[in-house]
């Protein structure tokens, strides 16, 4: 087995007195798709936000593509350049057009000339199937379109790993599919993905591994087939029985 692209070992995090992540160990291989699920408040968001240093942590170590992110959060910038993130609430920049949203980081972080950045951005907007709306403002688009722009925006930085934090849970049902389709496309191109989601259909179709978390710990991790067909832990069974009615 080659060196994992994301390696989390002995990760512990507290919010004040509250122990929100407990001894998390997780290794993600290049090209692997991992779905993280679990009840609300189990620490899923906190975990993936630690990977690109949006949250600090007190113990343990995260290594992304050979760059080490310790509790003192050195190398934040280097890690963030390798990791793209898509949020539940899109977080597009409302005062910039779709195109400017997608060129901002390449221009200001990677110092790419504006023209080249715009070309790349259009390429990614085409991939998420919204090239015609490049000059609209985010507020003029539907939720599904906004989320696809958010995906394109993250991709313009050529990340090696993509993090998704419940990308579809703020969307109306008919828009969920268009975003999931985009993510499936991305998976088929071989992107390494860590996805927090409750879309079990997506997990079955795309994931290499499903990780179940509860109370800040990883309770069970398995291939989707095994995970859904034969959950081992009592909490997993309970969770699945509630979610797959």
């Amino acid at each position: 087995m080659s060196e994992p692209i994301v390696k989390i070992s002995g990760l512990n995090k507290w919010y004040g007195e509250f122990h929100v992540l407990r001894d998390i160990d997780l290794a993600v291989q290049k090209g692997e798709r991992i779905v993280i699920c679990g009840p609300s408040g189990s620490g899923k968001s906190t975990l993936i936000r630690c990977i690109n240093a949006l949250e600090e942590f007190q113990e343990g170590e995260i290594v992304v593509d050979g760059i080490e992110l310790g509790p003192n959060l050195k190398h934040i910038d280097a890690v963030r350049r390798e990791v793209g993130m898509v949020f539940q609430s899109f977080n597009l920049f409302p005062h910039l057009t779709v195109l400017d949203n997608c060129t901002l980081a390449p221009i200001w972080v990677r110092n790419i000339p504006k023209k080249d950045a715009e070309e790349t951005a259009m390429k990614f907007l085409e991939r998420v199937k919204i090239p015609h709306q490049a000059n609209k403002f985010p507020g003029q688009m539907s939720g599904g379109q906004q989320q696809r722009v958010a995906i394109a925006r993250a991709l313009t930085m050529n990340p090696k790993v993509m993090l998704f934090d419940e990308p579809t849970s703020a969307l109306d049902p008919e828009m969920v599919k268009e975003v999931l389709d985009t993510m499936v496309d991305l998976a088929e191109e071989g992107m390494t993905m860590l996805v927090v989601t409750h879309e079990m259909g997506f997990a079955r179709e795309v994931a290499n591994r499903v990780v179940f978390m509860d109370a800040g710990q990883i309770i069970e991790a398995n291939t989707p087939n095994e995970f859904f067909a034969a959950p081992q832990h009592a909490r997993t069974k309970l969770f699945l029985s509630q979610i797959l009615r």
Partner: protein, 506 residues
């Protein structure tokens, strides 16, 4: 048509368009739907009409109908000479107009004020019209070059050196104050209980001062050498230009990409040279007009424009500081804001004018107008800080998280994502503060600066024009001028708000 309600319906003939039964358009429509459509509205309409009647009619009567339009002195504006109850006495404004605009600025030099105002208008108008190009250059000219040129135009005087001399001078001042502090510590160590400690500290500081002295020695030596040559300004200019161009060239990326930076810095220096030559700054420049001669609208504009332009950056810095995670910066910002918000502007001006000189070292004087300017800038800055903070608080945390996740640094996140949105939210509040600053400039008259209102009140004392309506006329005139500026700002801010918030309309 049958009476039976059937569940299926198909329209056979399309209905023709008909005019509305009661008139809802035009003036009649307006009266019917907006002014007289309910008892409350009828009452309000009548009250409104009465209010207009009792304000507009007397004003028009005073300002136009009963006004005297020409005359040489007070005689023209007296009721017994005019033959009617005199309203506004416009010849008085005409006679005092120069004083109201320029104060005591010498008559022969007033073209300099006009030129400055013209320059300001030429640079400001294109800046305010969004469609016009080259905003960066335009802003640079208005915010950096114009203040310098305006200073030499309005105040006059020339320069004896350039960048090199100034840098050397500043460093020398800094060094001297360090040595001074060391010496002071050494003296007090003789009498103090913790003498040895103070002695060590004093010697260390004095040593530091000496080291700095030798470090900057090449610079001061070069300065003195240049001052010795006949052409000190131009030699200094050439040396400074060469050094700065070299630095921008290297910082711009050297041979590969530094060409642009080099070209623009050379262009800048050529422009500076032209200005120096045109204004004869190397030979003493224009005759000096000290600020105590400035007055009228000139002072009002100088104070308010400087206040507006400097208070916003101060406010932004303080607002960001107040939200900083670094305790020292946060505490400083909070203390600063609360202090300035807690004292009245009059106190600030009074303190800046009469008390500050007592605290500053003897040989260090600051011009009275500049002191008032600094006081007003800091005072308004504190208010702007709170306005900006309101805007910052309205930006969801997700925005800066998204920017951070893309790899943007704190500075870039703040300047590209957070501030642009925050400032858009608070344009009305910012302009509100600008408007109140504009009117508050009239308070500088209590510290012996004659702004528009101060000059006006000074002119009341002239017996040649003392008539019953002089004061009313003067205040009406000042009111009209203040209103024009404030109303202009207000309308412009609405325009900007509308334009910048395009993204919030669907």
């Amino acid at each position: 048509m049958s009476d039976v309600i059937s569940s299926s319906f198909v329209r056979r003939d399309l209905l023709a368009e008909r005019p509305a039964p009661v008139k809802t358009t035009g003036f009649i429509g307006l009266m019917r739907t907006r002014l007289f459509n309910s008892p409350t509205n009828i009452l309000l309409t009548i009250l409104g009409a009465l209010l207009l009647w009792f304000t507009i009619v007397p004003s028009v009567k005073f300002l136009m109908v009963d006004a005297v339009w020409s005359g040489k002195d007070r005689a023209a504006c007296l009721a017994e000479n005019a033959g009617f109850a005199v309203g506004a006495c416009w010849p008085y404004i005409q006679a005092k107009f120069p004083q109201l605009i320029y104060g005591f600025y010498p008559e022969a030099e007033r073209w300099r004020v006009n030129l400055t105002l013209l320059l300001a208008a030429i640079l400001l108008l294109p800046l305010l019209i969004p469609r016009l190009p080259a905003k960066g250059l335009n802003a640079g000219l208005f915010f950096v070059a114009f203040p310098v040129v305006a200073f030499f135009l309005l105040h006059g005087g020339g320069i004896k050196g350039f960048g090199l001399s100034w840098t050397a001078g500043l460093l020398q001042l800094f060094d001297e104050s360090i040595v001074g502090a060391g010496q002071a510590l050494l003296t007090s160590s003789k009498t103090s209980a913790i003498g040895p400690l103070l002695w060590v500290l004093g010697s260390l500081i004095a040593l530091l001062g000496t080291v700095i002295h030798w470090l900057i020695f090449p610079l001061t030596w070069l300065r003195d050498y240049i001052q010795g040559t006949g052409q000190s300004v131009w030699t200094d200019f050439a040396v400074t230009a060469a050094i700065v161009c070299l630095i921008t060239f290297v910082l711009g990326g050297g041979v590969r990409t530094g060409g642009r930076a080099l070209a623009s810095s050379i262009a800048t220096f050529i422009a500076i040279a032209i200005v120096i030559k045109l204004m004869d700054l190397d030979h003493g420049g224009l005759p000096v007009v000290t600020t105590n001669l400035w007055g009228g609208l000139l002072v009002t504009l100088v104070v308010s424009v400087t206040g507006i332009v400097t208070s916003l950056p101060i406010g932004i810095a303080l607002a960001l500081g107040r939200r900083s995670t670094i305790p020292l910066i946060r505490i400083f910002s909070i203390a600063f804001i609360e202090f300035w918000r807690g004292v009245p502007l009059i106190t600030v001006l009074f303190f800046a004018t009469y008390m500050l000189p007592l605290f500053l070292p003897g040989n260090f004087t600051v011009d009275g107008l500049v002191r008032a300017l600094i006081g007003i800038a800091l005072f308004t800055g504190a208010y702007q800080a709170e306005n900006v903070r309101g805007g910052l608080a309205a930006i969801p945390r997700g925005q800066s998280e998204a920017a951070a996740a893309l790899g943007l640094s704190w500075w870039k996140t703040t300047s590209l994502i957070v501030l642009p949105q925050a400032l858009r939210h608070v344009i009305p509040n910012l302009v509100n503060s600008f408007i109140s600053l504009f009117k508050d400039t009239s308070l500088v008259s209590i510290v012996a600066l004659f702004d528009l209102l101060g000059s006006l009140r000074a002119s009341f004392a002239d017996p040649k024009w003392s008539t019953p309506s002089t004061a009313f006329t003067g205040f009406a005139f000042a009111g009209i001028i203040y209103f024009m500026f404030c109303f202009g700002m207000s309308r412009y801010s609405l325009f900007v708000e509308h334009r910048l918030n395009a993204h919030r309309r669907n």
